[in-house]
Symmetry: C2
Subunit: 302 residues, 2 copies
């Protein structure tokens, strides 16, 4: 492939995303597959990567491959030690180089970020943060990164000052998909009014989670509660709990929610209802922007 | 089998338990298998029951089979409509008779109990309650029935006045066994001090559940948190939340916890630490005692 300058890789728990990049920052090609960290051993990574990019590699020379995400965890390709808060989003200077059998690959895994008290970790989100800061370098406020493990990140002077991770998305998936509530919940469908009521209930009575959830099952059996309403209430109750515990992160802060649809939209609505006036920014290619920012530092040091 | 007078059946979601009973109340034989409601269709029940008791049936005549539990749910053998609170534990007069191909079986499924506001249901626990009341007919107080779906039941004048179900046990199993925390939790082992600290945290900061749980993962990665301590903290935090929401059920009440070991012991410790002075009673054969009490009413009406 003509013009391949470097390869950007977002290697998460469940997915691998790869971008083949030209020197001018344009994307030559992009690939995605389900060969995430969760199903690989350390010996698998180079083979899986070559399946995606091998055909594009030049016959000689070396191509930088910049990787973020769970590939850098202890159970991943090669452990990339965490940077510690407060810190800037890690740059290539802190990356871990990985030896490869194919000499055309120059693989560097970016570190995640850790926080000692309260104990917390991220891997991958630090690169999304870098991507966001590439757009808004002077941002001073709180970034909300919705996902399986939702993160609230206090950013000031380009540094990650502190952060907290909530398992809200994973709890929603487990309770909705695998508990007794799976019989009462729809796979899709939504009820905005029920969602916002449940956010209020979750905020004001977080301890009642265990019985309020079972009540969804009982209302479904006894009163014909609709699956879409049950799903919106489960989501609202969990997000409401989180908003109570994360209040120091959003109350009176300049809050930006990453993403515009799905779960990000639900966080926007819930925050709006609390008068928090959040702003949303597109999550499209934000990881790629963060990886590109890291690649720029490589060019500078050359 | 000589002397078979009736058959007691506890047919739950995951297990089937059967007792072959003599007329004097003694147990001739007991059986248990994993053919629970969750893996059966309505057409399977008679066959599965006959696999367990067929050899013991007389050549002629009819044997009463008294059933409690999820076999009476809509997805079970035959739906046995709920009794409504406030009510006594349902008797055979309210049971649903089930037609069988084998004329030697006279099958009656006991109803569960429902509550309209807050919406709640039980199937099987009402028979444990009947078993407890057969021992302590004058009990006036609160019965705590630990399990997958923990129940708090206010009992007065032999009636179930009100009850609430908490999904605490199911949440513990899902989060401990299937979330990202599975990597940080032990399958056994325990830490009493960590458990009681987590009960306090869960009671005072229930909204923080989602981030406190992720902190277990982070402490395990960063600070070598032991799997046994992580497991005790998960349990404590969930039970602490529940104790806050269920406070009207145990504060200043005569509380009896059903069962003496495992999760029942954890509830005892947590309640003790709040000064609730609970009493524990053995759960052994309590369902059989409830089914026996129902059988006694059959004899009386004959």
């Amino acid at each position: 492939m003509s013009g391949l300058a470097w390869i950007a890789v977002d290697w998460g728990t469940s997915h691998l995303r790869v971008w083949l990049m030209a020197d001018d920052g344009s994307v030559l090609d992009r690939k995605e597959c389900d060969q995430g960290m969760g199903r690989l051993t350390a010996a698998d990574y180079e083979r899986v990567l070559l399946e995606q990019v091998g055909a594009a590699l030049p016959e000689s020379g070396q191509v930088p491959v910049i990787v973020c995400g769970m590939a850098g965890s202890r159970q991943g390709w090669c452990e990339a030690p965490y940077a510690s808060t407060p810190c800037e989003a890690p740059s290539l200077a802190q990356a871990t180089q990985v030896a490869t059998a194919d000499a055309r690959l120059d693989v560097r895994i970016l570190p995640g970020i850790k926080q000692e008290r309260p104990a917390d970790v991220m891997r991958g989100e630090e690169t999304q943060i870098a991507g966001f800061l590439a757009q808004e370098p002077d941002f001073d406020g709180v970034l909300c990164l919705p996902g399986t493990h939702n993160k609230w990140v206090h950013i000031s002077a380009r540094e990650v000052v502190s952060f907290r991770t909530f398992m809200t998305g994973e709890l929603f998936a487990l309770i909705g998909g695998q508990s007794v509530l799976r019989h009462s919940l729809g796979e899709d469908g939504w009820d905005d009014a029920a969602f916002l009521d449940a956010v209020s209930q979750g905020m004001s009575h977080p301890a009642a989670l265990g019985c309020d959830l079972f009540a969804l099952r009982a209302e479904s059996l006894l009163q014909g509660l609709s699956p879409a309403t049950a799903r919106a209430r489960l989501s609202g109750q969990l997000i409401g709990m989180e908003l109570t515990a994360s209040r120091p992160y959003w109350l009176g802060q300049d809050v930006v929610v990453l993403g515009e649809s799905g779960i990000a939209g639900a966080y926007m609505k819930a925050l709006d209802a609390q008068g928090a006036m959040p702003r949303s920014v597109s999550a499209a290619d934000i990881t790629l922007r963060g990886l590109t920012a890291a690649f720029e530092t490589l060019k500078e040091t050359k």
